[in-house]
């Protein structure tokens, strides 16, 4: 199968929460915190060498001791009536040099994850990622939800702080979910499993930078914990949000005032009033991104 199992627990009606790194690491931060808070046990791992180039070699006394690959692990937590499984991948497999999964390897990986889900009797899969949105970083990130079946729409709409693609101005219910967090939704659908992708919003002027965006993760964590019907302490994620916000603020404060004024308009964007004129033009957006890019490049340690 390409998966090594450490244990073979009998799980009761489990759901699987699967995630790989993506924009702002929004999904992976949320899912990993949830896994740790729930004290999920290790279940097994994908034989990663079939998908990835090794990351690290350890040589001692002239002998190759070990070769380390990006880990792709399964975890489980017995809850009684509805158990929970996790899958956390450290890297997305690709056939080329792209950061997000595509091609045969990605499809094989997605099928492996679904194989394991079916082996343990899963009935539902959640994946998580990021939604790039014209929001300000001081605003609460909302969560875009995409199910793989029409009959799940009413349920996902009932989660607090969520929006469907059709709620987003100009999208008309259309869009793309790049990489494995999206592909898994499709493979689950093909193999008869219901699946939902929950994506935390990341401000458009931040998404291109290699920094985490825990505020989006917090919103995802809230939705997932509500969907599971469990209470999760937000202390850890709140600390991450606070730290990230102060870092973003420090860059923001150093932006030229005309750029900051443009970005400040995003504070007043509300999806409830889609008829309002676009607050920032495409031309403005280009200038803003260039300016922020310049600032990030000037940050110590980012050169």
């Amino acid at each position: 199968m390409g998966v090594i199992f450490y244990k073979e627990p009998k799980l009761s009606n489990p759901i699987l929460i699967a995630c790989w790194p993506g924009i702002g690491n929004i999904g992976i931060i949320a899912v990993d915190i949830l896994r740790r808070v729930m004290a999920a046990e290790e279940l097994g791992e994908v034989e990663s060498w079939e998908f990835f180039y090794p990351r690290r070699v350890l040589i001692r006394g002239g002998e190759l001791k070990s070769l380390e690959f990006p880990s792709n692990k399964f975890y489980f937590k017995k809850m009684g009536k509805k158990d929970v499984m996790f899958f956390i991948g450290e890297e997305q497999p690709t056939d080329g040099a792209k950061a997000y999964a595509e091609g045969i390897k990605a499809y094989r990986m997605a099928n492996l994850v679904i194989d394991v889900a079916l082996k343990f009797g899963c009935h539902r899969v959640y994946t998580s990622g990021a939604a790039v949105a014209p929001i300000h970083h001081t605003a609460r990130s909302r969560v875009w939800v995409v199910p793989n079946r029409e009959d799940l729409i009413d349920e996902v709409k009932s989660y607090e702080n969520t929006v469907l693609m059709s709620d987003i101005e100009g999208r008309d219910g259309q869009g793309n979910i790049t990489g494995l967090n999206g592909l898994l939704l499709g493979v689950a659908r093909k193999r008869g499993l219901e699946a939902i992708c929950v994506m935390g919003e990341v401000p458009i002027y931040i998404h291109g930078f290699p920094i985490p965006y825990p505020k989006g993760s917090k919103s995802v964590l809230e939705v997932l914990s509500a969907a599971l019907g469990i209470e999760v302490s937000m202390d850890e994620i709140n600390a991450l949000v606070q730290q990230s916000e102060s870092e973003i603020d420090s860059v923001y404060d150093r932006l030229p005032s005309e750029i900051r004024e443009q970005l400040d308009k995003l504070k007043y964007v509300t999806y409830a009033e889609p008829s309002e004129p676009e607050p920032i033009t495409e031309e403005d957006k280009k200038k803003i991104l260039q300016e922020i890019d310049r600032l990030f490049k000037k940050e110590p340690g980012r050169d």
Partner: protein, 277 residues
């Protein structure tokens, strides 16, 4: 293993047990590929198999190196009398594990491989007058014991740094160990100012090892001649240009050069040796 799709077999060598020497074309100073070519030429190795590139390399065009269009190659050469197989290949761009599995499948099925050696170079700040050494990394304690009589520097401790990744040779050694095939990576340090030209001494060091280990009885007359010629040419350069002599003398005294000095040494050596002095 799909013959005709993943690889082509032109002949079936009759080997009951063999050693495989692997050289990657993306090698530092190309010393590994030169040693592999030398062995193949001296032992009259014949190509008997190749791995097809389409599953492992992007074929959206060709790269050009030193004014010449390149194309990925992965070829096996057999020297039946010596029970030796040489594999020369580009490092695949993806499907690394599948590629290595295919190499090992062919090695086990068609020439009953017993030991695998990868050969390559590493950059050194030592002078060319410093005797070359051979470093080894093995994939088993037994292999280390077996190679203990060959004057190898075999006590390396190393861990990949954050901005680096393991060599493809390490990946091969690891994959071979999973099949209980013993293997070693052999590395020769090459003076940095000979990287762009040729370090024949380094090449000789590798070939000497195989000659002893596999009892190949190679006549080194030609390679000795090339080594002597290169040393003579560098000596002439040193006597003509005191500045260059000073740089090399510093390296001989274990002193380091500035970036500008290093760049000038590389440039002058390359021009001088390529100029055919």
């Amino acid at each position: 293993m799909r013959e005709g799709q993943l690889f082509n077999l032109f002949d079936k060598p009759k080997l009951e047990s063999s050693s495989l020497v692997v050289a990657w074309n993306q090698d530092v100073g190309k010393v590994g590929t030169k040693a592999a070519d030398y062995l193949r030429r001296k032992l009259k190795g014949l190509e008997f198999a190749e791995i097809c590139p389409e599953s492992f390399f992007p074929l959206g065009g060709v790269s050009v190196e030193d004014d010449v269009a390149q194309f990925p190659e992965s070829k096996f050469y057999c020297c039946p009398e010596e029970s030796l197989v040489v594999f020369k290949s580009d490092v695949p761009r993806y499907e690394w594990y599948e590629f290595l599995s295919l190499v090992l499948d062919i090695a086990e099925k068609y020439f009953k491989v017993k030991e695998i050696y990868t050969v390559g170079g590493m950059v050194s700040s030592a002078a060319h007058t410093t005797p070359r050494m051979l470093l080894s990394v093995v994939n088993s304690a037994e292999m280390k014991r077996r190679l203990s009589h060959y004057e190898l520097a075999s006590d390396m401790d190393y861990e990949t740094q954050d901005d680096q990744r393991p060599t493809f040779s390490s990946f091969l050694l690891w994959a071979a160990r999973r099949r209980s095939i013993e293997g070693a990576s052999l590395w020769v340090p090459i003076p940095f100012y000979l990287l762009a030209v040729e370090d024949t001494q380094a090449c000789k060091k590798l070939v000497e090892f195989f000659s002893r280990r596999l009892e190949l009885n190679i006549d080194f007359g030609d390679i000795n001649e090339t080594v002597a010629r290169q040393n003579k040419e560098i000596a002439q350069l040193r006597s003509k240009f005191s500045e260059i002599d000073g740089y090399i003398s510093k390296l001989e005294g274990n002193l380091s050069l500035t970036v500008e000095e290093s760049e000038k040494l590389v440039r002058e050596i390359e021009q001088w040796l390529r100029g055919g002095h």
